[in-house]
């Protein structure tokens, strides 16, 4: 009988085991931060998450989906607006970030307000200016729709939606959004080579930018004040809003630079439309303040050619396969 018990145990654990082809840590990357033991990826859960991500049912009046502000063709940012409506009531609007390699991210939002990817979706679902819904009504709505009964049954073995399952499924889809096949990656794997301009850009990048936008994820996951002047209309003090610690004033999440070609406008408030403006910022517009990052206290001097070289390097971070990946696209599933 003991043997049987073990076999049962194996069967149970296997049926919850992760499908390895859904999530592959790229070679030489660090271990993901997300704890998969509480939410192992399965094909049907990822699929449910994808349907939810593209479904305007998430908003109260069925008009706005996650994809409205995070479109796949812009590496899941908001292309047509400089500013998406802000998540917070009290502070101004913010630019919607690209959704890339989220499994490696420790906190979410420009100020790190969200501590776990699972809880991220609650913010837009609940916010008045965004989806103006609440998770309880959303779950009630999902439980009346045939398609979702099927999808929840496939995914969780039970057709009844709950807050936990809904959030975990959305996380599952977001976790699969891995971008690791840019020219940069192929060069690192010695499958391609940089042009001489890109080589020079890479060298300058490593010298001036890499402490914060650290390879291979192009972020340290930390918060920093990169010298942007404060917008007195928005009065957004970033990380300080969460920690209320003055040493965090004006610090924002260091964003990844992967797919930066597609994710304009730039910075937390979308103030720059072009990478050339970003380069001008780092070389001649750094605003001094108490919390300014030490790396940026000394002026960065670059010739106009050197700036162009850095941009040429940044463009090697574009991953077209990621942007056009069919697995991430709108499933166009309709229900009635």
């Amino acid at each position: 009988m003991k043997v049987l018990k073990y076999i049962f145990f194996i069967v149970i654990s296997l049926s919850f085991a992760q499908h390895d082809d859904l999530f592959i840590t790229p070679k030489n990357w660090p271990k993901p931060v997300y704890n998969f033991t509480n939410n192992a990826l399965t094909k049907s859960k990822v699929e449910l998450g994808r349907v939810l991500f593209y479904d305007p049912i998430l908003s109260k009046d069925n008009t706005i989906s996650c994809a409205s502000c995070h479109s796949p063709f812009s590496a899941f940012t908001h292309i047509d607006h400089a500013l998406s409506h802000g998540i917070h009531d009290s502070i101004g609007a913010r630019n919607s970030p690209a959704l890339i390699n989220l499994a490696w991210q420790k906190t979410f939002m420009w100020d790190g307000a969200i501590n776990n990817l699972d809880m991220q979706a609650l913010a837009p679902i609940t916010h008045k200016a965004e989806m103006a819904n609440d998770i309880k009504s959303l779950v009630q709505k999902l439980n009346t729709i045939k398609l979702y009964k099927h999808l929840f049954k496939d995914a969780f073995g039970d057709s009844i939606a709950t807050g936990e399952k809904t959030l975990k499924a959305i996380s599952q889809f977001l976790l699969t959004l891995i971008s690791s096949n840019a020219k940069y990656d192929r060069v690192m794997k010695k499958q391609e080579i940089f042009t001489s301009q890109e080589i020079n850009g890479y060298r300058l990048f490593q010298k001036h930018c890499n402490t914060c936008h650290k390879e291979p994820l192009f972020t340290t996951n930390d918060f920093a004040n990169n010298g942007l002047s404060i917008d007195t209309l928005l009065n957004d003090y970033g990380r300080f809003i969460i920690t209320k610690n003055p040493s965090d004033s004006l610090k924002f999440k260091i964003p990844t630079l992967r797919n930066i070609e597609f994710t304009f406008p730039y910075m937390h408030d979308g103030r720059f439309k072009k990478l050339s403006q970003v380069m001008t910022h780092y070389t001649s517009q750094i605003q001094s303040s108490k919390t300014l990052a030490s790396e940026l206290k000394q002026k960065i001097t670059l010739t106009s050619n050197e700036k162009v070289d850095i941009i040429a390097f940044l463009i090697t971070l574009s991953d077209r396969e990621f942007v056009f990946d069919k697995r991430f696209a709108d499933p166009y599933i309709k229900y009635n």
């Binding site: 296997l14 307000a113 990817l117 699972d118 916010h127 998770i135 309880k136 709950t162």
Partner: protein, 242 residues
């Protein structure tokens, strides 16, 4: 070989006969176990002074009146102790008390028969590990309305209502207390001396709770702060054994 195929093969190997045997064995274990167990009931009873608290009824308070529409809070990590040693600990111990739902006010524990205890310990609120561990179900499901949305974290304690003492136009008050991050960790430990009885009734004095607030100057707190931590401590002093 894929997981799926493997499961199919094992399923065939097992067959139905074995399954029935295993189910039978499990049932037998359950019956045997229950004979050596004792059920302990812990009841949380909200009072306003000497009156049972009923939502939407009016009470006299200080120089005015008060009415409550919501009273919800988390109790977690329940432990029974004897001589300062833990003798029984509930696993996965999270309970949402909700004044609008009688069922949520009684928790039953099955402890070994004859087990004696002198102390009941529990947390008032949700610990920081749970706060950062992602989506959870049961009483921790975000549909329960006790999770902040714009900033991660559980609301440990929620009280809402109206009072003539409030200085806003609609005479409303709203306190959502919580927070897990240093230095605004609101979690409180409550320890009560008890006797080894089968039913323990814990009295929650909402009048005393309201006296810790000063409604005429502050009528709402909606995010983690040092004030939320201070109030959480004071509220934790309003639980007593009846």
């Amino acid at each position: 070989m894929t997981n799926y195929k493997f499961i199919q093969i094992i399923k065939q190997l097992l067959g139905k006969k074995y399954l029935a045997a295993v189910v039978f064995l499990c049932l037998q274990c359950a019956v045997l176990n229950s004979q050596n167990k004792n059920e302990i009931k812990v009841v949380f009873q909200p009072f306003f002074g000497s009156y049972p608290l009923i939502l939407d009824s009016t009470y006299v308070f200080e120089n005015g009146q008060i009415e409550f529409s919501t009273l919800k809070f988390y109790i977690s990590n329940l432990q029974f102790l004897k001589n300062e040693k833990i003798v029984f600990k509930e696993s996965n111990s999270f309970h949402l008390f909700d004044a609008s739902n009688i069922k949520s006010q009684n928790f039953t524990f099955t402890i070994p028969k004859g087990l004696l205890f002198t102390e009941l310990n529990f947390n008032f609120g949700i610990d920081s590990l749970t706060n950062t561990s992602g989506a959870m179900g049961g009483d921790l499901d975000p549909t329960k309305g006790m999770y902040w949305t714009w900033q991660s974290g559980y609301v440990n304690f929620k009280i809402e209502g109206t009072s003539s003492l409030c200085n806003n136009k609609r005479k409303e008050f709203q306190f959502h207390l919580g927070g897990y991050q240093f230095p605004f960790s609101a979690l409180q430990k409550i320890s009560l001396d008890v006797e080894s009885k089968n039913t323990l009734v814990i009295y929650v004095d909402v009048k005393k709770i309201m006296e810790t607030f000063n409604l005429s100057s502050i009528d709402h707190i909606m995010s983690p702060s040092s004030e939320a931590v201070r109030l959480s401590y004071l509220i934790s002093q309003c639980f007593s054994l009846k």
